[in-house]
Amino acid sequence: MFITVSIAILVTMALAIIRALRGPSIYDRILAVNMFGTKTVLLVSVVAFLFGRPDFLDLALAYALINFIGVLAVLEFFQSRSLRRELGAAQQRDSL
């Protein structure tokens, strides 16, 4: 029964990768990466039981906690970049 779920998760992962490759916008890629992260947590949890070593859930726990940081960093990066660009544009307008 764990096999069925893991296959479903793998298919979902493949679809998420297609979205990440296709883009088109950066936000689509972030969405895909985020989704992929959640699916990895689920896959690892299922596979840990499939292999009969449930003590390896630590890995899933690590992803559940840390995956968030990457997404936040990316968003912060874009926010500050577009703000800086606006700042540059505002300075240009002022100098004209």
Binding site: M1, T4, V5, A8, I9, V11, T12, L15, A16, I18, R19, S25, Y27, D28, I30, L31, A32, N34, M35, T38, K39, V41, L42, S45, V46, F49, P54, D55, L57, D58, A60, L61, A64, L65, N67, F68, V71, L72, L75, F78, Q79, S82, E86
Partner: protein
Amino acid sequence: MSLFLDLGSWVLFGIGSLLLFIGALGVLRLPTLFTRMHAASLTESLGTIAVLTGIMLQAGLTLATMKLLAILLFLLLTSPTSSYALANAALLARNRDQTREQADRK
């Protein structure tokens, strides 16, 4: 007893797999960013709950169940938050582009 647990797991796994698959299909097929985000975030939460609860039924009352519970809790906290932050950032970027276009037209 274990028959009922197995049955419950099967049902939950079925629901979870179906939801995850539908969500992924939505992310792939829907036309715009916000509709795609909608598909992903709506199905993901329930799908995650279903799959992890299904595993919990199989694990029984062990340390593994506590870890699964923690994973579920963290995922339920972080996943909507990152969806929110993403949607917020995308919306702000779109609004900025629109105001810039309007400013350019003037």
